[in-house]
């Protein structure tokens, strides 16, 4: 084996292990904060896998969108509402765990079956576009994938308007979560104080 192939193999092994162990940790860990940070690690390793596939633009976009935006927002939200209180115990927790595990395992076996039965047609290394991919992605976004691209932007706009409506309670006269009339003078005031009884 040449040095380049060995390096690639080692990188692939390490990245896949991090993805699998990290993803298991995201699901199985009790602490939601650790789960959120591990999720960031999983996203980073997926970006590393993209890099191994010579898709540097996709890798950078993965880091920017998933790590830099999605994961930061998740952690941000967790920290804003990080109240140190024990959750109420759920009665039938065991049966719920069994059901969710079996559903996950079924999905996994389905994916493995698809992986084994499908014939993956790999383009030869000579046809790899490499650095050209940025241009190619742009061309696709503005030609055959134009409609999905624009629809996605409309979806994001809807989500944004929804978030603004939820955040600015002066639009509504009633608090939608508690049903109490909204204090119009203190729009920024949350219905519950955020940073009390921390200890």
């Amino acid at each position: 084996m040449s040095i380049a192939i060995t390096t690639q193999f080692i990188c692939f092994t390490v990245l896949s292990l991090v993805v699998i162990i990290g993803a298991l940790g995201v699901v199985l860990l009790e602490s939601i904060v650790y789960s959120a940070f591990l999720l960031g690690g999983v996203f980073m390793s997926v970006a590393g896998l993209y890099l191994l596939l010579n898709a540097s633009f996709v890798a950078a976009a993965q880091v920017l969108v998933y790590v830099g935006a999605v994961n930061v927002l998740i952690i941000f939200a967790i920290m804003l509402v990080n109240k140190k209180e024990d959750l109420k115990p759920i009665n039938d927790i065991k049966s719920r765990r069994v059901i969710s595990t079996s559903i996950c395992l079924t999905l996994l076996s389905l994916l493995i079956r698809v992986d084994l039965t499908n014939v993956w047609s790999l383009s030869s290394p000579q046809n790899a576009i490499g650095e050209e991919s940025t241009i190619r992605i742009g061309e696709h976004l503005f030609s055959d994938y134009l409609l999905p691209f624009e629809v996605a932007s409309v979806l994001l706009l809807m989500a944004m308007i929804g978030a603004i409506v939820l955040a600015r309670r002066d639009v509504m006269s009633k608090d939608i979560s508690t049903g109490l009339p909204v204090d119009q003078e203190l729009i920024e005031k949350s219905s519950e104080p955020l940073l009390t009884n921390k200890n």
Binding site: S2, I3, A4, V33, F37, G40, M44, S56, F57, A60, A61, V63, L64, V67, G68, A69, N71, V72, L73, I75, F76, M79, L80, N82, G130, E131, T134, L195, K198
Partner: protein
């Protein structure tokens, strides 16, 4: 435009002269530029810390460090040594793993971003195709490290500082990326080398600052906000938050934050000079000088001359910007958090969007001036 020193090629040829295969030569070559850039970054930090002390002293009519070496140049080294030998403290109720990982996550993306900083045609670690986009992506990892250290410290000031830092960098990343996008639109490439080459036509007249004055100002403001320099140093506002997310840190972990913030400042200054001030370009094109001296552009003497001029020009421009940043820090008051977010979302974002739109229009109207 493919001229200039290619040290990698010469080095590999030199090693092959000893009978080594090209793969082994490549492996021996790989760590050299990385080490060089790391050393350059750390030395740059030492110089910046010294400048900060001296300029702040001048701004406040003091003398500043004076006894450690001539004019106090050894003061930053003394600071570094002190931090190295200080006790490494992890607070009893802090979260040890996250507390340690936080500073590392802050520092590593900043150092990785030096990958794309060119000091000459071939004088950079890697001319990756996604160039400047890589920097934008990497700098978006930093808030995670800040949130992590803010949370792990188990201290309300740290948590507030971390939250502020994350909010600030998310808000200022968008206008920053949009103003970079306007430059990319004019260059037709994301690569930093192409961006500099695009500005090298007519010396100082072809620098992007004349074509993108609005973008330049927006980028500089956002870069300062990303570095948490004083008009925008809310995450560590001393009077409100003790020291923000750094409050509980001591010794080398604190030094990592310190290094990270200064390396980030130098990196931002370098990127401003690459994007808007012609990078390694001399105000008068080197080709003209070579023609004036009647020397071919590929002569070894001219090549060494261009390479050294390139490095000197890049560093000079970057340090001029660092000087401005330090002056700003010691002369401007801090903005409030609502003013900071208002400035980012209600002023810089619309302005940079309009700038992008106008650039696209001008590119269609005058392709010879705004990149075809």
């Amino acid at each position: 435009m493919e001229y200039g020193l290619d040290l990698e090629y010469s080095f590999n040829e030199f090693l092959k002269g000893f009978g080594l295969s090209s793969e082994i030569a490549h492996i021996i070559w790989l760590p050299l530029p990385m080490l060089l850039v790391l050393v350059a970054a750390v030395v740059g930090v030492l110089v910046t810390v010294w400048l900060e002390r001296k300029i702040s002293a001048a701004a406040q009519q003091r003398i500043g460090p004076e006894y450690a070496g001539a004019l106090g140049v050894l003061q930053p080294i003394a600071d570094g040594l002190k931090l190295l030998v200080k006790e490494d403290i992890i607070p009893a109720k802090a979260d040890g793993i996250l507390f340690t990982a936080g500073p590392i996550l802050v520092l590593v993306p900043v150092i990785l971003s030096w990958l794309i900083v060119p000091f000459g045609q071939n004088l950079l670690i890697s001319n990756v195709g996604i160039g400047i986009f890589l920097w934008i992506a990497l700098s978006s990892i930093q808030p995670i490290g800040l949130l992590m250290s803010g949370y792990a410290s188990n201290n309300k000031y740290s948590l507030l500082g971390g939250l502020r830092a994350a909010a600030q960098s998310i808000s200022y990343e968008i206008p920053l990326a949009l103003s970079v996008l306007a430059i990319v639109l004019m260059t037709n490439s994301l690569s930093t080398v192409d961006i500099v080459n695009q500005q090298s036509g007519a010396g100082i007249l072809s620098w992007n600052i004349w074509r993108q004055p609005v973008g330049f100002v927006v980028f500089w403001i956002c870069a300062l906000a990303e570095c948490e320099r004083l008009p925008f140093d809310l995450p560590e506002a001393e009077e409100e938050l003790v020291a923000g997310y750094q409050t509980e840190y001591a010794g080398m972990k604190f030094a990592l934050f310190y290094l990270g913030s200064y390396i980030n400042l130098i990196l931002s200054a370098l990127l401003v000079s690459i994007l808007y001030l012609g990078g390694w370009g001399f105000p008068i094109p080197v080709e003209l000088i070579a023609k004036f001296l009647n020397l071919p552009i590929n002569a070894p003497f001219i090549q060494v001359f261009t390479a050294s001029i390139g490095i000197v020009m890049t560093v000079l421009k970057a340090y001029l910007l660092v000087f401005i940043a330090i002056l700003l820090r010691w002369t401007t008051p801090r903005v409030r958090i609502d003013q900071l977010l208002d400035l980012g979302w209600k002023f810089l974002l619309p302005i940079s969007l309009a700038n992008l739109l106008i650039t696209a229009g001008l590119k269609l109207a005058f392709p010879q001036f705004f990149g075809g």
